[in-house]
């Protein structure tokens, strides 16, 4: 794994304190924070303030692609080797709707996962980590040069961090 840039890592027990620290750091002009949380907490994510994830576009594109490919596949295969079954028209839409529906769901779900992986990797930032962040602590990593650590550490402590340490 890539080494993370130097910075300050803080741990919070309280969700409101963490949200306050995030808002304050943002107002002080610190960017590229990495915020860790054991659960998707609304208050913290609100403070971070990301726009809605683009994963939903993947779902839409996958679903539409699945539906269209279901239509194209069934129709093309019906005419490619024409066999009349049960006296029905060669290309019978009603029974093919089932295939179109299933492929809508299948490709929609696969595209959603692909989008999740793609955006997860794309927005990944190397940052210091503590194993307690998947347990009960909220973490904030501020990438900042060592000479400014004292200022950031103080801001984090004032906001209510229970632990603060510099990570080179």
């Amino acid at each position: 794994m890539k080494r993370h840039p130097p910075g300050v890592l803080a741990a919070f027990q309280h969700v409101d304190a963490a949200a306050r620290a995030i808002r304050q750091l943002k107002s002080l002009g610190y960017r590229n924070l990495t915020v860790y949380a054991p659960v998707p907490n609304y208050e913290v994510l609100q403070a971070v303030g990301h726009p809605v994830s683009p994963v939903r576009v993947w779902t839409l594109i996958g679903g539409v692609a699945g539906c269209l490919s279901g239509y194209a596949m069934t129709m093309w295969m019906s005419y490619d080797y024409p066999i009349v079954v049960g006296g029905k028209p060669l290309g019978s839409i009603p029974p093919y709707i089932v295939i179109m529906f299933e492929l809508t769901i299948l490709l929609g779900a696969l595209a959603t996962v692909a989008g999740l992986v793609y955006h997860g990797i794309r927005t990944h930032r190397a940052a210091a980590y503590d194993p307690r962040f998947t347990d009960d602590l909220i973490g904030i990593f501020v990438p900042v040069a060592p000479e400014r650590w004292t200022a950031v550490e103080q801001a984090l402590r004032e906001a209510g961090a229970t632990e603060v340490r510099g990570e080179a």
Binding site: Q13, H14, V15, D16, A17, L33, T34, V35, Y36, A37, P38, V39, P40, L45, V48, H50, V52, S53, V55, R56, T59, G63, M73, T74, M77, S78, D80, Y81, I83, V85, G86, P95, Y96, V98, I99, F101, E102, L103, I105, L106, G108, A109, L110, T112, V113, L116, H119, G120, T123, H124, R125, A127, Y129, P131, R132, F133, T134, D135, D136, I138
Partner: protein, 452 residues
């Protein structure tokens, strides 16, 4: 409605802290005891019996199973529908209740979802076993071939191929995506080879703001996709029957009837699995009477729907004035297979009526016993629909009788061995209670009181 609700007698005990949740769930993944190995050995030997029977059938042909014209669909298709049905409640609990934001699902949904994936995995074997020549199973897939022949998309059996494969794929995705944050949680407290396993399977999860941002969206859309899927899959399975002109099969009620029955049997198996699981894993604090009561209410609802469907079937058979339909239903209740029909009616139509009593809904032993009867009844429901209808079609000279052979029964038993083998292996290696989601319903500690 608040004014109508009875006041809760005892105040709920303090919710566990986040740290306790992680520790309690991670503790279920420790070194298994002797009982676990004994149980695993038992289910694997049951599976071995099924595998032996299958090899015997492959060696000597489908004739060793009890199939005689006109009954060519027997225990295998019954068991296929049974396991597909079992799968449904998992997605109901994990996806549909997720969209409804129902908090009680968090403690039980992982078990239900694991059950779903392994039940579909079991179900998927049966069409292959049933076709006899397993090595030609790939003919079901539309692939380019020398003769340029394509599959028949007008056949419900092919819809089934698409529905069941999609269901297996999507429910596996849903399970795996849901597992990622929990695996990361146990990774951070585990040691030894398990830590290595979880480090790989957590896929680099750390719970960062960006990860949660994409994850929560993806999970929401997966739930939204799984919800119509679960309703479609058993509808498609029911059309395997309803699209034909066999008396007893050719009815429009089949799709909703099958979906209700599927959720009914699935909830019953969730209860069957949860009772020993919570005992063995000491999860009484997380899975308690309230969860069983909620599952019982789902059982009651779907059980009443199933009971209604039974009544409607008989009523329509009579009301249609169609002699074949009437004769088929008379044969169901009073013919060769009367015992199967009455097992089904008593287990599925009458036993769930006990669930009107709160005392029974909240009694874990009673729910366990009831869930076993419901599963028995639901297997027989599919047996009755499939075998009894086929053995009594239009032409009296073409009516027949089907007796399952030892091969049928062994493969049926083997399917339970197969299912429980996967379930046991999973339960001891991955968290069976969703750590992140159980935490999510407990508010994080605050420094200052939240604004009202």
């Amino acid at each position: 409605m608040a004014t109508l609700a009875a006041p809760r007698p005892a105040p709920a005990p303090a919710p566990p802290t986040y740290r306790e949740i992680t520790r309690d769930v991670a503790a279920t993944l420790g070194k298994p005891g002797r009982a676990y190995y004994v149980l695993l050995g038992f289910v694997v030997s049951v599976l071995a019996v099924g595998v032996f029977a299958l090899l015997h059938q492959i060696r000597y042909g489908l004739g060793v199973a009890g199939y005689r014209p006109p009954v060519q669909w027997g225990v295998y298709i019954t068991t296929f529908v049974f396991w597909v049905g079992i799968a449904h409640s998992g997605t109901l609990v994990s996806a549909i209740l997720y969209l409804f934001r129902s908090a009680w699902r968090t403690a039980v949904y992982r078990t239900a979802e694991v059950m779903t994936v392994f039940a579909v995995l079991t179900a998927g074997l049966f069409p292959l076993i049933h076709v006899g020549r397993i090595w030609y199973a790939y003919w079901l897939i539309p692939y380019p071939n020398q003769r340029q022949l394509w599959v028949n998309f007008k056949s419900p059996l092919l819809w089934d191929v698409f529905a069941v494969t999609t269901y297996l794929t999507v429910s596996s995705i849903f399970l795996i995506v849901g597992l990622i944050p929990d695996i990361a949680s146990v990774r951070d407290v585990a040691s030894g080879w398990r830590k290595k396993l979880y480090r790989i399977t957590a896929l680099g999860w750390r719970g960062t703001d960006q990860q949660w941002r994409h994850y929560t969206r993806a999970y929401l859309y997966l739930a939204a996709l799984a919800t119509p899927l679960v309703l479609s899959v058993h509808s498609v399975v029911s059309w395997d029957f309803a699209m034909s002109i066999v008396p007893g099969w050719h009815t429009t009620i089949f799709a909703p009837y099958f979906v209700a029955g599927a959720i009914y049997s699935g909830c019953a198996l969730v209860i069957t699995l949860l009772v020993p699981l919570r005992k063995a894993f000491k999860l009484e604090r997380y899975i308690h009477e309230d969860h069983f009561e909620n599952l019982a209410k789902l059982l009651l609802l779907t059980g009443m729907l199933v009971g209604y469907a039974y009544a409607a079937e008989y009523f329509i058979a009579w009301y249609s004035g169609n002699d074949y339909e009437r004769s088929s239903f008379y044969f169901r209740a009073f013919g060769d297979y009367w015992w199967a029909t009455w097992t089904m009616i008593i287990c599925n139509g009458f036993l769930p009526l006990f669930l009107w009593f709160k005392k029974i809904r909240r009694s874990i032993p009673a729910m366990f016993v009831l869930s076993l009867f419901i599963n028995l009844g639901m297997w027989f429901e599919r047996f009755v629909i499939i075998v009894v209808s086929l053995s009594h079609e239009y032409e009296p000279y073409a009516m027949g009788h089907y007796t399952p052979s030892w091969v049928d029964w062994s493969i049926l038993a083997g399917s339970f061995g197969w299912f429980f083998m996967w379930f046991l292996l999973f339960a001891k290696n991955f968290p069976m209670v969703s750590i992140a989601e159980v935490k999510e319903i407990i508010p994080m500690p605050r420094r200052e009181a939240a604004h009202p």
